[in-house]
Structure formats: C-alpha cells, structure tokens
Amino acid sequence: MLSLNRISKNYKIGTFGGKDFTAVRDVSFELAEGEVVSLIGESGSGKTTVGKMILKLIDISSGSIVLDGVDVSTVKGKDVKGYYRQVQGVFQDPFSSYNPIFKADRVFSLIRVEYFPEMARSEWDDKVEAAVRAVTLDPGQVLNKYPHQLSGGQLQRLLVARALLLDLKVLVADEIISMLDASTRIDVLNLLADLKSRGMGILFITHDLSLGNYISEKTVILRHGVIVEMGATEKVFGNPTHPYTRMLISSVPQLHKKWAQIESELAAPIAGRGGCLFHEAYPLAGRTADSKDDPTLAKIEDNHFVGCFELESEKTARVA
C-alpha cells in the first residue's frame, strides 16, 4: 500500500557552519494494509523525519514515497487534501498537539470545515460521537472541554478519533504514548493495534523497543538515518544480528531480567568494519570509518535483513 523507496533527507545546518547533514539515507520499506510497522531508533536516528516525509510536512531530498501506485511528492495543491484524507498523523506531545486557547474538539471542527462543509450538523455530530466511542472515550466527558481539562491519554485518543473521521489508510503514530503515564499508555497502544482490523496501516515510531515489539508485525531499526536491521518483529527480536540492535536490546530495562543476564544471553556479536555508521561506537570494528558507503542490507533468513559488512559476503539477496 505505502512504500518508501530509497528516501533520503539532507539538511543545510549551522547558522555559521553551513554544513550538509543527512538525516535520513536510502530508507526503504513497505507498509501493508492492516499492518503495524514499528520504526525504532534513538534520538537523532531520523525516525521522526521519515514520519514527517510521509505526512508531507517536509520535502523528500531523494527517493520516492508511493501510496497505492501514486508518487506522493507529485501530489500538489488541492490534491494534498485528498492525500490527507488517507494519511494522517498523531504526535508525541498531546498538549502541544492542541491549540491551548481553543477547546479540544476544535480538532474535529477543523476537519469538518475543511473536508465536510456540506454535512448536516446532526449527521456530523453523530459521526464525531461514533469516532470518539471507537477510541473508547465517553463523548459526554471529553467533548466541549479545554485541553488542560483532559488527560494526556484522552487527548491522544481524541487525535486518533480525529483521524478516524477521514477515510484513513495510513496512520503515522510518532511516539504517541511516550509522554503518557504507564497506567494509560497500554490502552492507547491496544487501540492502535485494534485499528489494524479496520484495514489501516500504522507506522509506529518509537524509541521504546518493548512497545514496538508488543504491537508490530514488522520492525525497522534506524540508526543515524540508515536502516541497520529490519524484518518480521519476532525475527528481529528473536535473533537480533546487527551489533547495534543487540546493544539496544541489551540496554532496555526489563521487568524480570537484569541487564547483566540479558547481555549474557545474547551470543557473541558479529564484527563490524570501516565505513559502517555504527563503527565508531563499536570497538570490535577497529577500523576508520571514512567511507560514506553503507553496508547493503543482507537477507540472513526469510523476512529478516541486516546491514553489516560482515554479512555481505554471505548475503543471498540484495535489498533496495
């Protein structure tokens, strides 16, 4: 349904420096209907940039994003609205997502003004109520309130409900639960997982591996704008192969396993080498990283790809 083909994003940075900065490089993956793909990365990995490129909030420097055969970057002017009918986003900070001086349900009114100006008031109200109920909220409790009168969890769910008012195919959920309390975040996460049954494709962007692991079918691990490992979630987590993936998994604080134990359970990692973006953080490599070449993603098993030079020799298929 949605496919990213070698997309990259370059920025000019520095008020004084004028340097080039590549936030995302050659990222390719696909998102199918009724599928949750989690895009996992630490700060600066470019995960949010990928999400914003899909949402057309920033331009793509190179590569293409294709939705049902249509190149998204060619969608211009009035057609953008049509695109947003199918693709929507929810962001990290629920309080920053609402204009603080307006009531929270203004996010719905905006959709009505822009997309359903013809619809009768009562019909629209029914539609909103249905959407609010679909995200397990009580319309009487949440409508007609100011953002500061609602909890973070309620606000995020309202944003999901807002997206449901449209004929949504793809939802980009960028860190949408990382600012919520532990007691409510899992419910919002479950809500996302339930949306799959409506045939929606969800890009779940997160830095939290356990959350990605919990809801997604497919996992993409991003580091410094480059995919280092991706594949079926159970394979990436069951057989983490790239040294970076391993490092991440061994750093996740777990509830029933101490760090030392997790580390000992992971078998000896493969060695990296010069040119790999992970090199400088990975002492086993021992070579200088002056090459801009990235290792290509190698297929190490069905539905599991890893970007590491050590694996290139034995790769069976080249992706991207």
Partner: protein
C-alpha cells in the same frame, strides 16, 4: 567566525548602500524643484561671499546637472562620496560639508560616549540591585519607567531651567563661553566641562532608566533559570547565584545596546538643540532652518556610518563576552 562577521559586514554594507541611495534619491523624488529654491536663496547672496556663491552654483550644476543621465549622476555621487566630498554647506558659508561636520563631531561624541558607558554601567547595577529587594524594586522601577518615558529634550529643558536658569550652577547654552578662544588652558577646559555637564547629564539620566528596567527584568528571569535553581539546591550563597545571574543577564543587554543606538543618537541630537551645544544636533537644527540640504544629507550619511560602526563594535564585544556564540562559531563539539 569569519562567516559570522562576513554576514554582519554584508548587512552593514547593504544598509549603507541603501541609506546612501535614499540620500541621493530623496531630493530627486520630491515634488517641486529643490535646486531652484536653493539657487534662489544662494543667488540672493546675503550669507555667502560672491566667490563661494559662484563655487556653489558651479557645484549644483555639476551634481544636479539634469543634462546628464540619471545613472551618471548616481555614479558621480558615489565617486565624490568616496573622496569624502559631500558638497558645500550654505550654513557653513560655503565651507565643505565634511569639514563642517567634522568640527561638530567631537562635541557629539564627547556627550554620547561617556553618557552611554556610564548609564550602561550604573543602570545595569541599579537594575540588578532592584531585583534583589522589594522596596528598592518598588522605588527604582517607577523612576526607571518615568525616565524612559521622558522625551530627551524635555528632561534637558527641565534641567536647564532648574539647574541653569533658577540656580545658575551651570551655563545654559553653548559649548564654551563666548568670551573664550579654544586653548589648552585650565580656564578653557573647566569652562568646556561646565558647558558639557548638563547635556551629558540629561542624556545620561534618560538612558539610565532604560538600562535599569531592562536589567531588572532580565535578572529576575535569570534567577528563575535552571542553573540558578541548581546552585540554590546545592546551598550556594545568594551572592554567587546573583553574580551568575548578573553575568548572564548582561548578554541580552549588550544586544539591547545595539538596538538602542539609533534612539540614543536621536536623543543626543535633540538634547544638543536644547542646550545649543555645538554638536551634530545643533548643526541639524541650523541646517533645517537655513534649508541647507547638502549639510543635512551629509549629516545623515555621517550618522549612518557612525551607527553602523558602533553596531559592529557591539557585535565584536558580544562574541568576546558570550562563550556560547564563540563555541557555536568554532563549530562546536557537542
């Protein structure tokens, strides 16, 4: 760093270019014919000697010569500008505008520089002190607001009236006594200072209020900042917390100085007029009265150059004082 200053210099160059062009354009854009008016008056020759008058007529013909195409006039304007030739002054009895201005500049700078530096230093100190105690805050703040809201010339007038007219402590007008010739004698210097004091003091007072308020607001903001909270959490004495807050609050004040320069110069001009102090302001006043456009345009360019230079100095000072800009310019390591 080079890029930063390069950018700044570019802005200043463009500013100067635009200002100079405006300066050249204004007389040509204005309805009516200013030259005709000027010729009419200079032709009368009441204030000028015949030779000077002839020289000026010649000059006008050259500069405004409408027989020449516009671009040539414009180019000629820049050429003479680079030669420091700003024309001749009617008010200066045919003297070169540049010379007339240069004679007035020391007086204006003599007012401005001490007034700016002293008010900046004292005002910031007052502001910092005000932020410390409630009663000080309640007394310094209203005074500060009144001072900044006072028109420069009015404070000058009030000072002149009270100190000069009523008590006769200081002379009311001029740069030095009519009966004196400039010389390096004690008599002359003391007279110079006596004439200097009131215009200086009135400029100083108005500015003082602005700095005090700015610093007070800044420092309150800094005292709420995270590094202040951390210092307090570690039991650092108020003395240290305030010292840090003061240092950090100084930085935006430097930028404030740059932003205020135009206003300050304007304040100096009107203050000089009040005291008939022989600086640029008085020159402007006379130029307007005698409709001496060359002089006025020359002064305009001169003020622009002065303000641009001062801005550049402030830019340099800021980079020296704020380590953050310095680090950012080095490219940073973070």
């Amino acid at each position: 760093m080079r890029r930063y200053f390069g950018r700044k210099l570019l802005t200043y160059a463009i500013t100067f270019f635009i200002a100079a062009t405006i300066d050249w354009l204004i007389p040509r854009l204005m309805p009516g014919d200013p030259i005709a008016g000027m010729m009419q008056r200079t032709g009368g020759g009441s204030t000028l000697s015949p030779e000077a008058s002839a020289a000026m007529v010649q000059y006008y013909t050259n500069l405004f010569g409408l027989n020449r195409p516009m671009w040539e006039q414009y180019l000629g304007f820049w050429t003479s500008l680079f030669h420091g030739d700003l024309g001749l002054s009617i008010f200066g009895h045919g003297r070169a505008v540049t010379d007339t201005i240069m004679a007035a500049v020391p007086y204006t700078l003599g007012l401005l520089i001490p007034a700016i530096l002293l008010s900046y230093w004292l005002g910031n100190s007052f502001g910092a002190v005000a932020a410390r105690r409630k009663w000080l805050d309640n007394s310094i703040l209203p005074i500060g607001y009144l001072l900044t809201a006072t028109p420069y010339m009015w404070l000058g007038l009030m000072l002149a009236y009270i100190v000069g007219f009523t008590f006769r402590w200081f002379p009311l007008s001029g740069g030095y006594g009519f009966n004196l010739e400039p010389a390096l004698t004690w008599l002359f210097i003391s007279d110079l200072i006596a004439h200097w004091f009131m215009p200086f003091f009135s400029l100083f007072l108005v500015m003082l209020g602005g700095w005090a308020i700015g610093m007070r607001n800044m420092i309150i903001y800094e005292l709420e900042s995270d590094y202040s909270r951390y210092l307090e959490a570690l039991g650092a004495p108020q003395r240290l917390v305030r010292k840090y807050a003061f240092r950090n609050a100084m930085l935006p004040q430097i930028t404030g100085l740059a932003l205020q320069l135009g206003v300050i110069v304007a304040g100096a001009l009107v203050t000089e007029i009040v005291f008939s102090y022989p600086g640029i302001g008085q020159l402007v006043f006379n130029a307007i009265k005698s409709e001496d456009y060359f002089l006025l345009q020359g002064i305009f360019l001169f003020i622009i150059i002065g303000v641009l230079a001062a801005n550049f100095i402030v830019d340099i000072v800021y980079v020296i004082v704020d380590p953050r800009t310095r680090v950012a310019m080095r490219g940073g390591t973070a």
